[in-house]
C-alpha cells in the first residue's frame, strides 16, 4: 500500500532532485564549463515539453475514445520538424539577431515594435495557456487520486486541492528561482533547460516501462497484444479524413505558436545547427512516446472495470496489477510531463506579461525620463516574479473553477486552436514583407473572436456559456452566426469547423488589411530584417540623430542589463570609436545596438519605448527615412566621386609617367651636355698644360717660347669665351635675362656687328642696302648686335670660297621686319639644318670654327627673349639665316 504521504515524499524528493540538477547546471554555466549544456541532445530533449501530461496520460485516453486519431498530435510536430526546418531556422536566426524574448516579442518586434500587438498576443497566450496549466495541475491531482482510490483511502476533495496548490506553489518557486536569475530573458536558462531535459528522459522511460510491462507482463507478448488490438472496438474505427487533416494542422501549428515551444525552440536555442539534430531526434522521441499508447489503451480497456478513466490507465493499470513501483514511476513520468510544461509555460508567459503589459504600463504611468531616474532593473525583475506568481495562480484558479470536469484532451485541443491564432501573423511576418501591424492586429482579433465563439465558449457545454437556443438558432436569432455552423454551413465536425473558420477568417483579415493599409517606417525596416534575415547580419539603424546623452543612456543601461555588462558595452563602443572611457558618441548604430541589448531584457517594444524617452521621442519618421535615403544618395554620390577621383588619379599617374620619361630624357640630355662641356673645357686646357710644361724647360729657343706662349694665350681666351657663352646661355635659357631696352636703328646695329665680327675690310665682302636699314628699333640693342655678330662670324668662318660674300638684306615680310644673312659658301648640309640651333652642334672641325658650338643656340635664345626669331633659310646658294625682328619694329622706310 502506498500512502499519500509516501507519494508526497516521492514527489518532494523528485522535485528536490530537479532543484539540484538545475542548481548544478547554473553553477556549471556560471563557471563556464557549460559546453555540454549547450549540446544538441539537451536541446532536443528540451523540445519534449511539447509532450505534457496531456500526451502522457491523455494520449491513452484519446486512443481509448477515438482510436488512432491520437497520432495526429504527434504527426503535426513531426511534419513541422522535418518539412518546415527552413522556417524554424529562420525563426531561430531572427530570434537571436533581434534578441527576442517570447512569441509576443516576435510579433511586436516584427510589426513596428508595437506595444498593442504585444499585449494582444500576450492576452491570447494567457487565455490559451491558462486552461492548459490547469490541466497539468488536474492531471497531477487525478493521478494522486488514483493512488488514493487504490489504497482504499477516501481523501477529502480539499486534500486534492491542497495538493494542487502545493504543486503550483512549488512550481512557482522553481520558476522564480531559475527563471529570473538572468534579467536578460533572451539568454538561456541552463538550470531550467537541463531540468526539463531530465524530465524528458524520465517521462519517456516511464511510459516505455509501462508499455513493456503491459505488452509482456499483462498481455503476454507482442502476438497476444496484437490479437487483443484486433479484437478491440478501436481497431474498427475508420479515421475521419477532415478531422485528421485538421488535427495534424492544429498540432503542427501549435508546435510553432505555443509560448513554451517558442521559448525552447528559439529563445533557449544555443546553436542554429541543433535544429538539424532535433530534426530527426525529436520525431524519434515522439515515436517512442506513441509506441505503447494503443497497447496500454486496449489492455486497460480489457483489464479495468467499465467506467474507469482511460486517461489514467498509465498509472491505474500497473496499480491494478500490483506493480506499485512501476505505478510510482509512471506517476513520476506524468508529474514530469506536467511540471516541465508548467515551468516553461509560466516562464514564457511571465516574460510576456512583464515585458508587454507590466513594464510598459509602469513606463506610461511615469513621467518621461523615468528610465533614468527610476530603478528599472528592479521593476523588471519584480514584474517578472509577480507575473510568474500571477500565471500560476491563474492556472490554479482555473483548475478550481473548472472543477476538473472536462476530458483532458478536449481542453488541450481548445487551447491549441486558441494559440495558433498567432500563426498567420507569425508566418506572414517572417515570409511576407507586405505584412503590417494593422493586418496582424485584425487577423488576431478576428481569429480570437471566431475561436472564442465557435470553440472556446461552446467547449463549456450546452447551457453553460451559451444556451441551447444560441447553438440552434444563433445569437439574437441570427441563424448564420450559429457557433458550430457559421454562415449556415452545417455537417462539419465542430472542431474542424472552428479551426477552419478561425484560421480562414484570421488569415483573410490579416492579408486583406495588410494590403489595404500601409506599414510605418519601423515596420518596413523590421519587415525587411525578418523576411531577409539571412541577408542581414546586423540590424538596420532605427534611430537617427538624437538629443540623448551618452551618460543618460549608460545610467539606463546599467539599470536594465546590469552595471558590469552595460559598462562593458559602452566601453567597447567608445573604444571602437577611438575614445577612452565609457561614454561613446551616441550614433544611430550604437542606439540600435543598445536597443537590441535592452530588448533582450525587456522586449523590443519596451526597449524601443525606453530609448524613445531618452532620445526625446525621435522615433524614426518618414523624414528620417528620407534622411536615410539622402544618406544613401550621398554615399552613391561619394562613390561616384571616388570613381571620378580614381580616373583623375589614373590621369595624374599617366602625366607623372610622362613627366618621368621626360625627366629621364632630360637627364640623358644633361649627361650629354655635361660630357660635351667637359670635352670643350678639357681640350684647350690640354694645350695650355702641355705647352706650359714645355715652357718650364730651360733649353728652349726664344722663337719657340714666344710661339708656345701665344698658343697658351689663345687657348685661355677660348676657355674664357666658352665660359661666357655657357653662362650667357644659362641665363637666357632660364628666362631670367635682363633686357636693356633702348632706341636705335637697324643700320647702327648692323654696322657695329660687322665691325665686331672682323668682317670689315677682311676677305669677306659684306653687301648691304643702306636705304632699307633705316629702320628705327626699340629693343635690347646689345643683344640684337650679339645675334648679328654671331651670324656674320659664321659667314667669316664657313664661307670658304675664293671670293666670299655676305649679303645682309632687310625687308618687310607679312608685316614683320626681317633681316636675312646670306653667304655664298657651301651652306649647311640638309641633314644638319635641323640641328644647328642645338647646343654644341658644330659643323666639321673644331679648330676652324674656334667655338664650342653654342653661338646659334645663344642667338635663338636671345631672339626668343626679344620677341623675335632666327631660322635657317634653305636653298639660298649658301648658308642663309633669317632674323625676324620683334613685332614692335615698324618698317618706316617703305
Amino acid at each position: 500500500m502506498i500512502s499519500f504521504n509516501l507519494l508526497i515524499l516521492v514527489s518532494l524528493g523528485y522535485v528536490a532532485f530537479l532543484f539540484l540538477v538545475a542548481f548544478a547546471a547554473e553553477r556549471r554555466a556560471a563557471s563556464g564549463r557549460s559546453a555540454w549544456l549547450r549540446s544538441s541532445s539537451i536541446y532536443t530533449l528540451s523540445l519534449s515539453i511539447y509532450c505534457t501530461a496531456w500526451t502522457f496520460y491523455g494520449a491513452v485516453g484519446y486512443a481509448a475514445r477515438s482510436g488512432l486519431e491520437f497520432l495526429t498530435i504527434y504527426l503535426g510536430p513531426t511534419i513541422v520538424m522535418i518539412g518546415w526546418w527552413w522556417f524554424l531556422r529562420k525563426l531561430v536566426r531572427i530570434g537571436r539577431s533581434q534578441r527576442l524574448t517570447s512569441i509576443a516579442d516576435l510579433i511586436s518586434s516584427r510589426f513596428g515594435k508595437s506595444t498593442a500587438l504585444g499585449v494582444m498576443v500576450t492576452v491570447l497566450a494567457i487565455v490559451g495557456t491558462t486552461p492548459y496549466i490547469a490541466l497539468q495541475l488536474q492531471s497531477v491531482t487525478q493521478s494522486i487520486g488514483i493512488f488514493a482510490a487504490h489504497s482504499g483511502a477516501v481523501w477529502e476533495a480539499g486534500d486534492l486541492n491542497g495538493a494542487a496548490m502545493w504543486v503550483a506553489f512549488g512550481l512557482a518557486v522553481f520558476t522564480l528561482l531559475f527563471g529570473t536569475r538572468n534579467l536578460d530573458a533572451s539568454e538561456r536558462h541552463h538550470g531550467i533547460v537541463l531540468a526539463i531535459a531530465v524530465e524528458a528522459v524520465v517521462k519517456l522511460f516511464a511510459l516505455v516501462a509501462v508499455g513493456i510491462f503491459v505488452v509482456w507482463g499483462v498481455a503476454g507478448g507482442v502476438g497476444p497484444t496484437l490479437d487483443l488490438i484486433d479484437a478491440s472496438a478501436q481497431s474498427q474505427w475508420a479515421p475521419v479524413p477532415s478531422r485528421w487533416v485538421g488535427l495534424i494542422f492544429v498540432s503542427g501549428a501549435a508546435f510553432l505558436c505555443l509560448p513554451r515551444m517558442f521559448q525552447v525552440l528559439v529563445v533557449e536555442n544555443a546553436d542554429e545547427r541543433h535544429l538539424s539534430t532535433a530534426g530527426w531526434a525529436f520525431p524519434a522521441y515522439l515515436l517512442f512516446m506513441s509506441l505503447f499508447v494503443v497497447p496500454i489503451a486496449v489492455v486497460g480497456l480489457d483489464l479495468m472495470p467499465a467506467g474507469a478513466n482511460p486517461d489514467m490507465f498509465v498509472v491505474s493499470v500497473p496499480l491494478a496489477e500490483g506493480r506499485e513501483g512501476l505505478a510510482i514511476l509512471a506517476f513520476l513520468g506524468g508529474f514530469s510531463s506536467a511540471t516541465s510544461m508548467v515551468i516553461v509555460a509560466t516562464l514564457a508567459l511571465a516574460t510576456m506579461v512583464s515585458n508587454h503589459i507590466v513594464v510598459p504600463g509602469w513606463l506610461n504611468a511615469r513621467t518621461p525620463g523615468a528610465v533614468v531616474s527610476g530603478d528599472v532593473r528592479d521593476v523588471v525583475v519584480l514584474a517578472r516574479r509577480v507575473s510568474i506568481g500571477l500565471v500560476l495562480a491563474l492556472g490554479y484558479v482555473y483548475f478550481r473553477l473548472s472543477g476538473g470536469g472536462a476530458a483532458l484532451a478536449a481542453i488541450g485541443l481548445v487551447s491549441f486552436t486558441g494559440v495558433i491564432q498567432v500563426l498567420p501573423a507569425m508566418v506572414g511576418g517572417v515570409v511576407w514583407r507586405g505584412a503590417n501591424r494593422w493586418g496582424a492586429g485584425a487577423g488576431l482579433v478576428v481569429g480570437f473572436v471566431v475561436w472564442g465563439w465557435t470553440q472556446f465558449l461552446p467547449s463549456f457545454g450546452v447551457d453553460a456559456a451559451l444556451s441551447q437556443a444560441v447553438f440552434d438558432h444563433g445569437p439574437f436569432g441570427l441563424d448564420w452566426l450559429r457557433p458550430q455552423a457559421l454562415f449556415g454551413i452545417t455537417g462539419i465536425d465542430p472542431f474542424v469547423h472552428a479551426v477552419f473558420w478561425s484560421m480562414c477568417l484570421n488569415a483573410g483579415a490579416f492579408m486583406i488589411v495588410s494590403i489595404l493599409t500601409f506599414p510605418n517606417p519601423v515596420e518596413r525596416l523590421q519587415g525587411a530584417q525578418f523576411v531577409k534575415i539571412f541577408d542581414y547580419s546586423s540590424g538596420a539603424r532605427l534611430w537617427t540623430q538624437s538629443a540623448a546623452q551618452a551618460e543618460d543612456m549608460l545610467v539606463m543601461a546599467q539599470r536594465i542589463i546590469g552595471g558590469a555588462k552595460a559598462q562593458t558595452l559602452f566601453q567597447a563602443e567608445a573604444q571602437s570609436q577611438g575614445k577612452a572611457g565609457f561614454l561613446p558618441d551616441v550614433t544611430p548604430d550604437f542606439i540600435g545596438r543598445l536597443e537590441r541589448e535592452l530588448s533582450g531584457s525587456v522586449g523590443a517594444a519596451t526597449a524601443h519605448a525606453m530609448i524613445g524617452q531618452l532620445t526625446e521621442g525621435t522615433m524614426i519618421s518618414v523624414d528620417d527615412l528620407i534622411a536615410v535615403a539622402d544618406e544613401t544618395a550621398q554615399i552613391m554620390e561619394y562613390s561616384n566621386r571616388l570613381e571620378a577621383k580614381s580616373a583623375e588619379q589614373e590621369r595624374t599617374a599617366r602625366a607623372l609617367r610622362e613627366a618621368n620619361e621626360k625627366l629621364t630624357a632630360l637627364s640623358i640630355q644633361k649627361d650629354a651636355f655635361l660630357s660635351q662641356i667637359s670635352h670643350e673645357l678639357r681640350t684647350p686646357m690640354t694645350s695650355i698644360r702641355s705647352f706650359s710644361d714645355i715652357l718650364r724647360e730651360d733649353d728652349l729657343e726664344d722663337a719657340s717660347r714666344a710661339r708656345f706662349a701665344g698658343i697658351i694665350h689663345d687657348e685661355s681666351n677660348r676657355l674664357t669665351r666658352l665660359l661666357d657663352d655657357l653662362l650667357d646661355l644659362g641665363v637666357l635659357e632660364s628666362g631670367q635675362v635682363q633686357l636693356n631696352l633702348g632706341h636705335g636703328t637697324l643700320a647702327e646695329v648692323i654696322d657695329r656687328a660687322v665691325m665686331a665680327a672682323g668682317a670689315d675690310g677682311g676677305a669677306l665682302k659684306v653687301s648691304r642696302r643702306a636705304v632699307n636699314e633705316a629702320v628705327p628699333v626699340f629693343t635690347d640693342l646689345e643683344r640684337l648686335t650679339q645675334v648679328f655678330i654671331n651670324l656674320i662670324s659664321n659667314a667669316v668662318k664657313y664661307a670658304t670660297v675664293p671670293e666670299p660674300e655676305l649679303r645682309i638684306i632687310v625687308r618687310s615680310l607679312e608685316g614683320r621686319c626681317v633681316v636675312d644673312f646670306c653667304d655664298n659658301g657651301p651652306g649647311v648640309p640638309k641633314e644638319s639644318q635641323s640641328m644647328i640651333f642645338e647646343k654644341f652642334s658644330r659643323l666639321e672641325d673644331a679648330g676652324k670654327a674656334g667655338g664650342a658650338g653654342l653661338g646659334l643656340a645663344i642667338c635663338r635664345q636671345i631672339m626668343a627673349a626679344l620677341g623675335g626669331d632666327v631660322t635657317y633659310l634653305p636653298a639660298q646658294g649658301g648658308a642663309a639665316f633669317r632674323v625676324t625682328l620683334p613685332e614692335n619694329v615698324e618698317m618706316a622706310a617703305q
Partner: protein, 122 residues
C-alpha cells in the same frame, strides 16, 4: 731614322704639343686629323704606335679602333686613346675595344712620354 708614331688628332695645338714632345724623344711623328680617312693613312705605312683621339671629325676614334683591331695588319699595334670626356664608361668602352692605353685630357707631358715609352717597349 727614329721609330714611327701616328697621331690621329684634330686639335692643332694638341698635335703641335705632342709632336714636339715625341720628336724630341726620338720619334718620327706622323699626324692625321680626319677620322674618315684615318684608316687609309694607317694602311699606307703601319706605325709602331698609334695615338688616337676619340672625338674626331667624320668618324669617332672608337670606330677607328674597332677597324684597327679587326685588321690583322694592325691588330697588334699598340694604341693609346686620348679623350677629353674622362668618364669611366669611356675608359671601359676603349678597353673593351682593345685600346692598349687610355689617357684623359688634360695630361702632363711626363705622363705621355712615360706611356709612349712603355708601349714602345712592348
Amino acid at each position: 731614322m727614329g721609330r714611327r708614331v701616328l697621331l690621329i688628332e684634330d686639335e692643332p695645338n694638341i698635335i703641335e704639343a705632342i709632336s714636339y714632345l715625341l720628336s724630341r724623344d726620338g720619334w718620327t711623328v706622323h699626324t692625321h686629323s680626319d677620322g674618315e680617312t684615318a684608316m687609309d693613312k694607317v694602311r699606307q705605312g703601319v706605325p709602331e704606335l698609334i695615338i688616337l683621339d676619340v672625338m674626331l671629325p667624320g668618324r669617332s676614334g672608337y670606330d677607328i679602333l674597332r677597324d684597327l683591331r679587326a685588321d690583322p695588319q694592325t691588330a697588334d699595334v699598340p694604341v693609346m686613346m686620348l679623350t677629353a670626356r674622362g668618364q669611366a664608361r669611356d675608359r671601359e668602352l676603349a678597353t673593351s675595344l682593345g685600346a692598349t692605353q687610355f689617357m684623359t685630357k688634360p695630361f702632363s707631358n711626363a705622363e705621355v712620354l712615360d706611356s709612349v715609352r712603355a708601349l714602345a717597349a712592348l
